[in-house]
Point group: C2
Chain length 256, copies 2
């Protein structure tokens, strides 16, 4: 099982939309996928129709009240399971802070999942910060997928998270690497969209996905119905784009 | 001096753009304004041209290494000062967690500012979370300005933050109220933009500002030059909109 963290400390860049859509498209192709909602705001959980349920998230197993395997939930979509989040998950940050900063708490927590090896991929939707939860995610993941908006400020944000990934790799996770960089919310009408993409290609050319996710109304509507885009509108431009991303994502696995 | 927190736990909804642009437009009108960057990612600071300087943020005064008045920085814009942020600010969350959860730490820290009364307004740019820093901001502020994207999910986010404001008010800050709700990134081309606005009007009709901020390329370009929109393009649609917001913001002060 490969654990991929979908991460970017900047808010609203498409982490949740990418985690949910990529997981749904992989599952559609028969790839056994687990979506782990690591954000106390639980947007990924609600985008798949899960109501917040206190006592049903990583937090309960984190404080020792149950094995992680017991918080895995099935969905109505074949091959797709979820570990949902709820606001208590924010408590993890405080707990860990009191625990002499063990960087590997989340990694230890996910160990039974790796050993069980039921899933091909675990996709972790991360919160918008470089705080404790994020650091734990980077120390636990095999690789990081970075969604990037087609905005100038994204470049600054990218070098910040790349620097952070380097620090966590050296401190606790030697195998950690960047899975890929995904340009999101591309708006063909703005001139700077393309120039931001060109800039990213110049610095991280081999990591950027050929697939670019366009800004489309459908992708912003789906979550409020609790449906992944594959169920909400299976032939929309957004769905086609995320399916192409799933193909590109899978083709990179054979190379590494 | 009135302390207004610009807050919304959702990422990328325009908190920083609103904090910086509103502060700049108020200052332009001769209103003495202090922008407090409460986000460890320091986007508001860099949007005004400040480089991250370790040891130069609320954090230093928080851990007792200097009075808050000593971290106030002037800008090249008349009537506009800043308390910048830097990544150490994230450390505040851990510090407070170890301190028996005193909700009023930030409020106590800002007390000298209130007494000095040099500024008419202090605008606090908040991070995208409902964590410790946010709670402190809500307990320290007089009122909350909530930027809201014209997206369906904004409605869920709005009821979340309204509920949270109620809890903090009851627990620690009886005067806390909603300053106003600002619709941001309005895109006239999408049909749901207007229907989201109508929905917000139905629930919070008296709080929503008449001014609506349009999605414009200029507003997304300005921060990467370290310029507020008033300096970057003083007659752009975005600048005109934020000036209208500043007028509406000021006219509400006389009523309360
Ligand atoms: N390609 C797209 N086209 C249109 N809207 C999009 C697209 N991708 C995401 N959105 C919308 O933009 C907003 C932010 O996206 P999303 O929640 O995925 O970002 P995020 O990085 O997870 O945010 P946060 O930092 O708050 O967790 C949401 O309202 C979402 O529906
Ligand atoms: N009206 C607008 N038109 C176009 N782009 C905008 C507008 N308002 C904000 N943006 C851009 O959208 C992105 C998010 O805006 P901003 O940083 O202000 O949101 P935020 O809520 O502070 O995000 P975070 O949660 O990460 O702190 C930025 O790239 C910004 O430049
Ligand atoms: Mg998210
Ligand atoms: Mg911000």
């Amino acid at each position: 099982m490969k654990i991929v963290a979908v991460a970017n400390q900047k808010g609203g860049v498409g982490k949740t939309t990418t985690s949910v859509s990529l997981a749904a498209c992989l599952a559609e192709k028969g790839v056994k996928t687990l979506l782990i909602d690591l954000d106390p705001q639980a947007s990924a959980s609600s985008a798949l129709g899960f109501e917040e349920q206190p006592g049903c998230s990583l937090y309960t197993s984190f404080i020792g009240e149950g094995n992680i395997l017991s918080v895995i939930k099935t969905t109505t979509y074949p091959n797709l399971c979820v570990i949902p989040s709820e606001k208590d998950l924010a408590g993890i940050e405080i707990e860990i802070a009191k625990m002499d900063d063990n960087l590997l708490r989340l990694r230890q927590l996910l160990e039974p999942l790796r050993r069980q090896n039921e899933f091909d991929f675990a996709i972790m939707d991360c919160p918008p910060s470089l705080g404790t939860l994020m650091t734990q995610a980077l120390a636990a993941a095999d690789s990081i997928l970075v969604p990037l908006q087609c905005e100038y400020l994204s470049l600054e944000g990218l070098s910040k998270i790349v620097g952070y990934i380097d620090r966590v790799r050296d401190a606790a996770n030697p195998g950690l690497h960047i899975e890929g960089i995904l340009m999101t919310m591309f708006d063909a009408r703005t001139r700077h969209s393309q120039s931001v993409i060109n800039e990213v290609k110049e610095h991280m050319g081999d990591k950027i996905y050929r697939t670019i996710i366009p800004r489309t109304v459908r992708l912003s509507e789906a979550p409020s119905f609790g449906l992944p885009i594959t169920a909400y509108d299976k032939n929309s431009t957004g769905t086609v784009a995320y399916r192409a991303l799933a193909d590109e994502f899978l083709s990179r696995q054979k190379k590494s």
